[in-house]
Structures are given as structure tokens and as C-alpha cells.
């Protein structure tokens, strides 16, 4: 697309490996020692791995979690997704 790029690009002879971390706000509904239930605006795939940081109201907890279940639910007239997440470690 003409004029879209402002800067000259360079190809890497050896591609750099990395990770794209894409965060999303969720509401934490409840939790136990082993599982956390959250409300999300987007669904998730079963067995997908995320990190979850509790940021409000009391910051501190951060876990590595695995999606066990993703179910669409209606909340205040909007479709949300209730995710059941298994805690598999600390983040």
C-alpha cells in the first residue's frame, strides 16, 4: 500500500524469537485454591494457557492458569464469557 510505511524495513537473516503478550481486563468472580472463575469479553480455547494478575481491589496475586471451560453468558444484556481457569502455578 503506497505511502503506508514511513520507515525503511530490514529483514532479519535470523528471525528473532519472542512472545507477544496481549492482556485483557476481566472480572474475577470467585476463586479457590485450585480454580478461578472470570468474566471476559472474549471466549478462550480449552487448554489455552494465560497469566492472570489480580489488580483490584487488592493487588498481589498472579497465577499461571489453564482454560478448563469457556461458556457464553448474558450479563446486563451483553454477551460475556465465563471462563473457568485452573491454577497451574504462580506467575
Amino acid at each position: 500500500m503506497r505511502g503506508r510505511r514511513r520507515d525503511q524495513r530490514f529483514i532479519l537473516a535470523t528471525p528473532w524469537e519472542g512472545t507477544l503478550r496481549l492482556p485483557l481486563d476481566v472480572i474475577i468472580e470467585s476463586q479457590t485454591d485450585r480454580e478461578v472463575w472470570v468474566l471476559s469479553t472474549v471466549p478462550a480455547h480449552r487448554d489455552e494457557i494465560f497469566t492472570l494478575d489480580a489488580i483490584e481491589p487488592a493487588a498481589a496475586d498472579a497465577w499461571q492458569v489453564r482454560v478448563e471451560e469457556s461458556v457464553p453468558v448474558l450479563v446486563d444484556g451483553s454477551v460475556r464469557h465465563r471462563l473457568r481457569l485452573a491454577i497451574i502455578g504462580e506467575s
Binding site: 528473532w16 524469537e17 519472542g18 507477544l20 474475577i28
Partner: protein, 139 residues
């Protein structure tokens, strides 16, 4: 009932709900940087990424970790592939680039290459050492 009384009623303890516990759920998508410029990069990923998503790109290069914030501006399926996506991302300059900034390291490298912008940091040892060639140049 006056407006003030209505407001007072709203502030009664019964009307105050428990605050939502907010969390940050982060997806970590492995990606490879195919090409790069001062303002963005092209990534290859095995997962589709939403256009407009904002996140953090973290690169492990020769035992160094470089990080910058990016916004996804393009995501297309690689031609001939069923699961590899090309993801265009632009750097989001929300703060002054620090020592571990991808933007800063790239700018430093590119200045030392033909076509770079000048010798401003030529004396500085690049934070990242990798063979880089111009797009279209045969290696």
C-alpha cells in the same frame, strides 16, 4: 423528593455493591520477528491476533530480553499455510525507551547499517548483534 435526597438514598449502604475484582488475563503468543523498522515490525505467529490489540512484545536475543509495547495493525494468514499468520505491529511509544527497549536497540543497529540515519550512536556497542540485511538483498 429533592435531588439531594435521591442522591443520599443512592448512597445508602444497601445500594453499594461489592466492588468488582478486576484481573488482567494475558495471552502469551510465541512469535518470530521477520522484519523490523524503527516504527514497527512484521511477526510470524501460529495464532490469529485481533487487529487493534495492544500488548507487549518481548524478545530474547543473545541472552538479553528486549521489550516494547506494540499495537497489532494487520493480521493475515500466510499464503499457502493453514495456521501461520503474518502479524503487522507498530511500536506504541508510551514512554521514553529504556535500556531494554526494542525500539532503542533497533535504532542503534540501523544507524550502523548502510541506509541508517547517521552516526549518532556509532561508537556505542549495539545491544543486539544479529546479521541484518536489506529487504530484497540476496543473502
Amino acid at each position: 423528593m429533592s435531588d439531594f435526597e435521591k442522591f443520599e438514598n443512592l448512597m445508602l449502604p444497601d445500594a453499594i455493591e461489592e466492588p468488582d475484582v478486576i484481573g488482567l488475563l494475558a495471552r502469551h503468543i510465541p512469535a518470530r520477528v521477520i522484519d523490523i523498522s524503527r516504527t514497527g515490525c512484521l511477526l510470524e505467529s501460529q495464532q490469529r491476533v485481533d487487529i487493534g490489540a495492544v500488548g507487549e512484545l518481548r524478545l530474547e536475543i543473545q541472552r538479553q530480553t528486549l521489550v516494547d509495547e506494540v499495537r497489532v495493525i494487520r493480521c493475515v494468514l500466510l499464503e499457502g499455510s493453514s495456521s501461520t499468520y503474518l502479524v503487522g505491529a507498530e511500536f506504541v511509544p508510551t514512554r521514553r525507551p529504556g535500556e531494554r527497549s526494542i525500539r532503542r536497540s533497533v535504532a542503534s543497529i540501523l544507524r550502523g547499517l548502510p541506509g541508517g540515519s547517521g552516526p549518532l550512536e556509532r561508537s556505542r556497542k549495539p545491544a543486539v548483534v544479529n546479521s541484518v540485511r536489506f529487504k530484497g538483498e540476496v543473502s
